[in-house]
């Protein structure tokens, strides 16, 4: 038995492959049950848009084979063994380190992103019934490592997505965004993400959709804002603080003719326009207006890229924390229950020896007290000799970090109860 991770992620598989491996929360117990049935004593399934990973306490075979089969079933039409091209396996200490790097954002597509921390927690909670004590401890410490890295290093600093970069740029104009107003043109995924980012900062949202008014209304309702039609949007350029444009229009919709005169009535109050659309929604000429700050998706990606570059400088500090915590976990895992198990084993064997000795001595009543003492000494010596090698082997395995597997074997062989 040992800790294993088998998975695919954004480094090993393209999106069209990764998305086929994604397991919804309702699929997790079934998938883990199959792996447990194949001999794993614990399992957690972490499945996000960028990774699907099975964390197991198991022997190499056949539990890992079962995971390959599980993943292979989702790749219809792939040649046998094809799934292995996209996957990877890390064992024992490497598996622990891998999860710690994942939870701290070191292994994320956007370096240092914090969403993964919540995803690790959700995976752990979804697999709670099947995780077992070792993986419980592993995931608990993984969350701790993620928090440590974010607190003690700058790996999570700055903004790493275009939407959050837009919020950062608006913040450089207005300072505190709470109480500001934003007009969102578009009701697609990007518009929704950006609107959510702004709403989280306390910005009052007004959503405008030129096609799917129902969707705009639903998003606005969720964010505590309101939805208006495109015709109602233009006059709002006189009062809104932020205009975020993310429509699918093939040409500019925010033109000088539509909003130039309206913006002129602002009396110098700044207007931040974030154009996240490709092709662009906003006529670049509008940026010539004195207090208009216009940013397109390239500008915002520049801001996000700078944050990523700064985060890269923090990698060595984050890796040090991961290594330090891996050592701590491995020390715990290696010595997991070895001392109490040895004590329990010796106590059990000694009880057996005492019982058998008493029985034998009852039949040997003619023995003198000196001889009885000699027989008892013999039984004690024999027991010590029998237990010496297993004790030494267990302690050595514990020091090398393989104690858990031997303990499992010991408990099965001698019918010992696992610790509560």
């Amino acid at each position: 038995m040992g800790i294993k991770v088998l998975g695919v992620n954004h480094r090993t598989a393209p999106l069209d492959v990764r998305e086929r491996f994604v397991h919804g929360p309702h699929e997790v117990p079934g998938a883990l049950a199959r792996v447990m049935a194949a001999g794993a004593s614990g399992g957690v399934l972490l499945s996000t848009c960028n990774r699907t990973e099975f964390y197991l306490v198991a022997d190499d075979e056949p539990a890992l084979e079962t995971v390959w089969s599980l993943l292979g079933e989702r790749l219809a039409g792939a040649p046998p063994g094809g799934v292995r091209e996209y996957g990877y396996i890390a064992r024992d200490r490497d598996a622990v380190r891998h999860l710690y790097r994942v939870s701290s954002g070191l292994d994320s597509m956007i370096l240092g992103e914090s969403q993964i921390q919540g995803q690790v927690r959700e995976a752990w909670e979804a697999s709670r019934a099947q995780a077992g004590p070792v993986l419980h401890r592993l995931f608990q410490t993984a969350l701790h490592v993620g928090s440590r890295v974010r607190t003690e290093t700058g790996l999570g600093m700055g903004t790493a997505s275009a939407a959050s970069a837009g919020v950062a740029v608006a913040g450089k104009i207005f300072g505190d965004l709470a109480g500001r107003s934003a007009l969102i043109l578009g009701a697609g995924d990007m518009a929704e993400l950006a609107a959510t980012c702004l709403s989280n900062e306390g910005v009052q949202i007004t959503l405008v959709a030129n096609r799917t008014q129902e969707r705009a209304r639903a998003i606005a309702e969720r964010l505590g804002g309101r939805a208006v039609s495109l015709e109602e949007a233009w006059p709002q350029f006189a009062t809104t603080d932020i205009a975020l444009c993310s429509t699918a229009a093939p040409h500019a919709v925010v033109t000088w003719e539509r909003v130039g005169a309206v913006i002129g009535t602002r009396r110098g109050r700044p207007l931040c326009i974030l154009d996240l659309a490709v092709p662009r929604d906003v006529d670049p000429a509008i940026a010539q207006l004195e207090n208009v700050f216009l940013y397109d998706v390239d500008d915002l990606q520049t801001v996000a890229a700078q944050a990523t570059a700064r985060r890269r400088d923090e990698i060595p500090a984050a890796e040090r924390i991961v290594e330090e915590e891996t050592d701590l976990f491995w020390a715990w895992y290696g010595g997991l229950g070895v001392v109490p198990a040895i004590k329990e084993l010796r106590a059990r064997m000694d009880n057996l020896r005492t019982a058998e000795l008493e029985r034998a001595l009852r039949q040997l009543s003619h023995l003198s007290p000196e001889d009885r003492a000699r027989v008892e000494q013999f039984s004690q010596s024999l027991l010590n000799k029998f237990l010496h090698q297993p004790t030494v082997a267990l302690k050595a395995a514990a020091e090398e970090g393989h104690g858990y597997g031997l303990l499992e074997a010991l408990r099965r062989l001698f019918g010992m109860e696992p610790p509560a």
Partner: protein, 264 residues
């Protein structure tokens, strides 16, 4: 002793300034605690030094002005949650303390004036008013630099380290509005002191001309902000123009006046 204390304050201010400017020279930003502790330490030493000064003459006036500026810098940085004000205030305060030491910290001819409460209060309030005017200038300069970067879509050190535009605009407004009553009282105390203790009011004296001119400029800056509701870039340009005019007039008057150790 006074000179030694000034030299210690100068060294601490200079070190703090170097740390504040380090990110612009490609170095990592210094820990925030250090960038606050150094000017705080400098200000503490400086307070002790100023308390031993006789506030007459150019050197003591410059020292007082530098102290007010550093204290305002620390207060405004707490307000802005950043160290941007020190980019300008640091070199300015360091330069003023250096000039004060070079000009000499002895009181000069009118030692008696330095013991007069009217006069001491006049110097303190005028220095505070001027320091607030300098702070308004600094906020305006930071505003224009950040404005330029944001308009040009450049996201370098200025974008990263300077405070948001609106906060700088608020700081500029606050500094002007708070500076005007301080300078008004300072000028009134000077006029009162001149009339009562210094043989009558001499309107043609250089310090009176400069004092009135500064008061008018600051009053105009407050008027355009508060009454005419100027804000943003236009208000920043007005603050910078006003402060530059005040400095230019001072330098012009100083060059035409005898006595290097005299304030004017």
């Amino acid at each position: 002793m006074i000179v030694t204390l000034h030299l210690v304050a100068l060294a601490l201010y200079a070190f703090a300034t170097a740390l504040a400017l380090a990110p612009f020279m490609g170095f990592r930003p210094a820990p925030r605690a250090l960038t606050i502790a150094l000017p705080c330490g400098g200000a503490a030493v400086h307070v002790v030094a100023v308390s031993q000064l006789t506030l007459v003459g150019l050197g003591p006036a410059l020292s007082m002005l530098a102290l007010c500026l550093v204290l305002l810098q620390l207060a405004s940085e707490r307000l802005l949650r950043g160290s941007a004000v020190s980019f300008f205030a640091g070199p300015l305060a360091t330069g003023l303390v250096g000039l004060a030491i070079l000009s000499g910290l002895a009181p000069g001819a009118e030692v008696a004036a330095g013991r007069n409460a009217w006069f001491v209060l006049h110097v303190a309030l005028s220095a505070l008013g001027l320091a607030l005017m300098a702070l308004a200038f600094i906020a305006a300069a930071l505003y224009l630099l950040q404005f330029r970067e944001l308009k040009a879509r450049r996201f370098g050190q200025v974008f990263q380290l300077f405070p948001p535009l609106e906060r700088l605009d608020q700081l500029n407004r606050f500094a002007l509005v708070a500076g005007f009553p301080a300078l008004t009282l300072g000028v009134l105390l000077a006029l009162g002191y001149g009339a009562r203790f210094s043989g009558g009011l001499q309107v043609a004296k250089a310090q009176v001309v400069w004092g009135i001119f500064t008061w008018v400029v600051l009053g105009w800056a407050v008027w355009v902000r508060v009454v005419r509701h100027w804000a943003g870039r236009r208000a920043a340009l007005a603050s910078i123009a006003g402060f530059a005019a005040v400095i230019l007039v001072y330098v012009a008057l100083k060059l035409t006046q005898p006595g290097a150790e005299r304030f004017l």
